[in-house]
């Protein structure tokens, strides 16, 4: 905070007559409370954790976000850090160019499962194989949210989408791609973990993993990836309040959370 050149307007404290004073719920690097997304969406929860981690690791003036195309692109509108919005699927390649030119920067990608698991699987795998010192973040809700609920490479078996009306069928559509496990199998990947933001414990877990991922990057150990399971009640066609439960019931059996690889901490 002390090295800011200007102090932008931060979150107003919420004051309610006769009630106790509640601190702002805004992350320090947030410039707006408006996330532009649907009620019940898990992405803004993940954004806030990400911004808190960047602030707490003192990376605010080193961070460069390389953001793909999807609902999560809206982070660019509400966070005060350098952003490069890039083509769908290509963020790990773009971030490679950024990081090689600005090696002191904390470079991260923000992508969805359509972006990373479907369109850009080659880019993330090759960036991991090259041991690029970047942090890739995949917000995995198992569906194309931005385009209105179609099947991605990460949709789970049985999941009903607009392009798998009777549910994803192994016979018709094959099986989901477990990005975290694929990346973890590559020697160039130094840190890989999967978390979820549907519970308070999951939020705390996500924060620990993201911190560890950025520490892996700044230590120069290699590529880091955190796959964050997020709610998409709109794209799942369930009531808003049912999102967190749907995530644990439908997605987590396919995508178990926990650290998969941590090269900084010998097993």
């Amino acid at each position: 905070m002390s090295n800011r050149s200007t102090e932008p307007d931060r979150g107003q404290e919420v004051r309610i007559e006769g009630a106790r004073q509640v601190a702002s719920s805004r992350a320090d690097l947030q410039v707006s409370e408006d996330h532009h997304l649907c009620p019940g969406c898990g992405h803004p929860v993940a954004w806030r954790i990400l911004l808190e981690v960047i602030q707490e690791l003192s990376l605010a003036q080193r961070a460069i976000g390389v953001v793909g195309h999807g609902c999560y692109t809206n982070i660019v509108r509400m966070a005060d850090i350098d952003f490069l919005q890039c083509l769908h699927g290509r963020a790990p390649a773009v971030a490679t160019g950024v990081k090689r030119v600005q090696p002191q920067a904390a470079v991260f990608t923000l992508q969805g499962d359509g972006d990373m698991a479907s369109e850009g699987l080659a880019e993330v795998l090759h960036a991991a194989a090259r041991a690029e010192k970047i942090t890739a973040i995949m917000l995995n809700n198992g569906v194309f949210g931005d385009t209105g609920g179609q099947m991605t490479a990460a949709s789970v078996v049985g999941q009903r989408t607009k392009t798998s009306l009777e549910g994803r069928s192994p016979e018709l559509h094959g099986y989901p791609v477990p990005v975290a496990e694929l990346v973890a199998s590559l020697p160039g990947a130094a840190y890989v973990a999967r978390s979820a933001v549907n519970t308070a414990g999951g939020v705390a877990q996500t924060k620990r993993y993201l911190k560890r991922a950025f520490e892996t990057q700044t230590s120069g150990a290699g590529f880091s990836l955190v796959e964050v399971l997020t709610m998409c009640p709109t794209g799942w066609f369930v009531p808003t309040a049912a999102g967190p439960g749907y995530l644990s019931d439908s997605m987590q059996p396919t995508y178990p959370t926990g650290p998969l690889k941590d090269s900084l901490r010998p097993a």
């Binding site: 050149s5 102090e7 390649a93 160019g97």
Partner: protein, 361 residues
């Protein structure tokens, strides 16, 4: 620096590095491969980065990232590889990231690809087509300057003759004058200050500092490309002043045409040669000036007839244009065939201007 005998690809690599290029990424594909190899060998010597990418899509997006982070960045390929890169070339045009794309084409059949683009949106890519290695050395440095001048991706249209021919060249840095600063480039240092930077095709900005949005942003880009079109057209003409017939060609075909013109002049034929140095912007006014009083324009290009569209647009129907080129590929598929010879060109020119076999020397 003094002149040295260099292979074209090596000369372009040296020239790019002399221009300050410090990031290069590419995927092997002949005849671009030699440039990738040369960059791979030379970049470490200057502390730069050259990445042997795992696809052309990766390579061009890496260059885009490096350009966005402020480096003089480049990539390259040819044909199908350039086709794969078009999405990102368009993106760089629309989000204003400077970079240089070295299209070391397999021949002349990619004129439309180079000048029309295959990406989406209202954008153009300035494209220089050198006639030989020496001109490619100058064009390479000029391209980095123009990319930074206009914050835009720009292209070199080379081919196997430029890539593989040895020529004595001087690759010393060339000063093209002052450039705008790069305060827009991302280095991460502005985070949390209220003035963080964004590079975004939609230019929507932040909620606390809204950007112009796509409508205004893209109109401004359209104006920028119109300005480039007015300011950057380049050409070379040879003996067009009194020419009855002007032969138009591009790239490495140009010196063949000049040679034929020289021969035919010695025979008393009033022919001239005109070569667009920039394929986009096409030097329309210069061509109309050079050929406006001629009886006809002959278009020689080693393809089925692509540049002739631009020639006809430039001539505005005032002078007839006749196609004398054609498809001509050697057995490797990498190089032009028998049509790119002085004898074949001379014969086609004489046919077109109505000099019968009996009148020829």
């Amino acid at each position: 620096m003094t002149a040295a005998l260099l292979q074209g690809s090596r000369a372009i690599a040296d020239s790019a590095i002399a221009a300050g290029c410090r990031f290069f990424a590419g995927y092997p594909m002949l005849p671009f491969t030699d440039l990738l190899e040369a960059m791979s060998a030379k970049m470490p010597e200057v502390g730069g980065t050259c990445i042997n990418a795992d696809s052309e899509i990766e390579a061009v997006n890496m260059a885009l990232g490096a350009g966005a982070a402020g480096a003089r960045a480049a990539t390259g390929s040819c044909g199908q590889g350039i086709a794969l890169m078009q999405e990102a070339i368009a993106e760089a045009a629309l989000n204003e990231v400077p970079m240089v794309v070295f299209n070391m084409a397999r021949g002349q059949q990619d004129y439309w690809q180079a000048t029309r683009g295959g990406g989406w949106g209202d954008y153009r890519t300035l494209t220089l087509a050198p006639k030989d290695v020496a001109e490619a050395v100058v064009h390479t440095q000029l391209l980095f300057h123009l990319a930074d001048t206009y914050r835009a991706p720009v292209c070199l249209y080379g081919d196997y003759l430029v890539a593989h021919t040895h020529m004595s060249v001087d690759v010393a840095p060339i000063d093209f004058g002052p450039l705008p600063d790069k305060s827009w480039a991302l280095d991460g240092t502005a985070g949390g200050t209220g003035h963080a930077r964004q590079i975004w095709t939609w230019a929507m900005g932040r909620d606390d500092a809204p950007g112009p949005g796509p409508d205004v942003h893209w109109r401004r880009l359209a104006q920028k490309f119109a300005t480039m079109g007015e300011a950057e057209a380049r050409h070379e003409s040879y003996r067009c002043g009194d020419a009855e017939w002007v032969v138009v060609s591009f790239g490495t075909a140009g010196p063949f045409i000049d040679y034929v013109v020289e021969e035919l002049r010695a025979d008393g034929q009033r022919v001239g040669s005109f070569r667009p140095v920039t394929l986009w912007p096409f030097p329309e006014a210069a061509l109309l000036e050079a050929a406006g009083r001629a009886r006809g324009v002959l278009v020689y290009e080693v393809n089925a007839g692509q540049m002739i569209d631009d020639v006809r647009l430039a001539l505005r129907g005032q002078v007839p244009a006749t196609f004398i080129g054609g498809v001509s590929i050697d057995s490797s598929g990498m190089r032009q065939g028998d049509l790119l010879t002085v004898a074949a060109i001379r014969s086609r020119v004489l046919d077109a201007i109505g000099v019968g076999a009996g009148e020829r020397r």
